[in-house]
């Protein structure tokens, strides 16, 4: 379980997060949605410790994470843009991460095969396409079998085949009761994958609840419309 308490983040004068309170339940898929610049990525990066909050605390499984780093053993993260050191290869990066993570569990055969990565893993990153790097990111996020998986716009750079395989992967993890946090601009994807939804606007949470209840509340069948309605309401 992840508890976000009163998190605020300023970048200079720009207040990106304005006191976020949020509990992310264990064993569920939570989607964070919102327009560009609403603070989704900043929120995720704060949970990971990549961004240092101006105020507030974050707890993972009841322990504050401020100066801790070992809690990241529990987390698999797939960033929005996959960027890696140019001269290293995928397998080198993975063996580095393997040597750093506590758990020795690592299994990627199935993903490698489905993503057709076997040959790409031995090439330096500078010779790989954006989509391939994205797939390697997915590998790093999933293959260590973490109990929390954080995905920042995971399907943005993937082709339709890989993207649909990726969604199956998320659903499979969901079946194993993993805690998954996901951001996306594709509402049908969110509707397909997630149970809980957090709607973020200008650094504030405007809605949090289950996807089902949101749809019922707005009397819509499509999430896209329900979110659009939420947004109109917030603007008025």
């Amino acid at each position: 379980m992840i508890t976000v308490k009163n998190i605020a983040k300023d970048f200079g004068k720009n207040k990106v997060l304005k006191g976020i309170n949020l509990t992310i339940d264990e064993g569920k898929v939570t989607a964070i949605v919102g327009p560009n610049g609403s603070g989704k990525t900043t929120l995720i990066k704060t949970i990971l410790g990549l961004v240092r909050p101006t105020a507030g605390t974050i707890e993972v499984d009841g322990a504050e994470v401020k100066d801790d780093y070992l809690y990241r053993n529990k987390i698999g993260y797939m960033p929005q843009i996959a960027r890696y050191p140019e001269n290293l290869t995928g397998s080198e990066i993975i063996s580095l991460i393997k040597s750093i993570r506590e758990s020795s569990f690592y299994s990627d055969e199935e993903m490698r095969a489905s993503f057709k990565l076997d040959r790409e893993m031995e090439k330096p990153f500078k010779n790989l396409s954006g989509g391939t790097k994205q797939k390697i990111s997915a590998l790093i996020a999933f293959a260590f079998n973490p109990k929390i998986i954080i995905l920042d716009e995971p399907t943005a750079g993937l082709d339709p085949i890989s993207s649909s395989y990726f969604k199956d992967l998320v659903l499979k993890q969901k079946g194993q009761k993993k805690t998954i946090i996901l951001t996306s601009h594709l509402m049908n994807e969110v509707q397909e994958l997630s149970e809980e939804i957090v709607f973020l606007l200008e650094g504030e949470i405007k809605f949090k609840g289950s996807v089902k209840s949101l749809l019922e509340d707005k009397k819509e069948t499509k999430l896209e419309r329900a979110i659009a309605e939420l947004m109109n309401q917030s603007n008025n």
């Binding site: 990549l50 780093y69 960033p79 960027r83 890696y84 050191p85 290293l88 080198e92 040597s99 993570r101």
Partner: protein
């Protein structure tokens, strides 16, 4: 420490693959080789080498360090989402940049001496110059990291790096001369010594010149420092000052790094 070692090994691996270090090694090899081929005098070769080392090492180290740090941003971001603390990562990256570059210099510099069998002719000078080169590499990489951690804009950061090199390598001596010119009626020796400690390039130069009796050729600061510190105490003081030039920027940048957002 185990984490530092892991990061360090990967960084060294990555740095060496960038080919710049090999080019850098080759450069020092060629210079040394050329000097020994065209002039048999070891002392002359030492002075030429010192002048090259004192200009080239700071310039290359500060630029290489900045570029390397900016290019490592992705790597840093990725590693920080893994269970690793910022301190180990930072030390690993710093040493992973400074060690290959120092090694590149060390190998390129030493090979001609070994090939021509000149090491034993001036063994003290050889090791001193090697030490100065390595210390200057660390100093300027520490400075470049300080700039790069604070300044997110790559082009501004590189500009600042070159500016700092220009100030320390060229402008500083000009200012010192100006001070001497305007205050020539006053006893300035102690002030000069203090001024020198504020410039790592001068420190390196002085350290070396104290072993060679040609201080007057190498600028006023060198001459003064030799007169007052031509003793073991002088060597120790200037090495301590050079180490401070590594430690202070490193700790400052480490503090900024710990608070930085990625």
């Amino acid at each position: 420490m185990k984490l530092v070692k892991k990061i360090l090994l990967y960084e060294i691996h990555n740095t060496i693959r960038s080919k710049w270090v090999i080019l850098y090694t080759f450069f020092f090899f060629l210079v040394g080789y050329g000097l020994f081929t065209f002039s048999g005098d070891v002392n002359k070769a030492y002075i030429s080498l010192m002048n090259i080392i004192i200009i080239v090492i700071p310039l290359v180290s500060i630029i290489f360090g900045s570029i390397y740090f900016y290019n490592s941003r992705e790597f840093i971001e990725m590693m920080l989402s893994q269970p690793i603390d910022r301190k180990s990562l930072y030390i690993g990256i710093f040493l992973g940049t400074a060690i290959p570059l120092s090694a590149g210099f060390g190998i390129g510099f030493s090979l001609p001496f070994i090939l021509f069998g000149k090491v034993s002719e001036q063994i003290e000078g050889f090791f001193l110059l090697l030490l100065i080169g390595i210390l200057l590499t660390f100093v300027f990489i520490a400075l470049s990291f300080l700039i790069s951690v604070k300044q997110d804009d790559k082009s501004k950061g590189l500009g600042l790096a070159i500016l700092i090199w220009l100030i320390l390598a060229v402008v500083y001596d000009g200012i010192v001369l100006l001070v001497i010119y305007y205050f020539q009626d006053y006893p300035l020796e102690n002030a000069m010594i203090v001024l020198s400690a504020f410039n790592p390039i001068d420190l390196g130069r002085i350290l070396f010149l104290m072993k060679f009796d040609i201080a007057a050729l190498m600028g006023y600061t060198g001459a003064v420092f030799q007169r007052f510190f031509g003793s073991p105490l002088g060597v120790i003081v200037s090495i301590i000052c050079l180490l401070a030039w590594i430690v202070i920027p490193f700790f400052l940048s480490h503090r900024f790094f710990k608070k930085k957002d990625f």
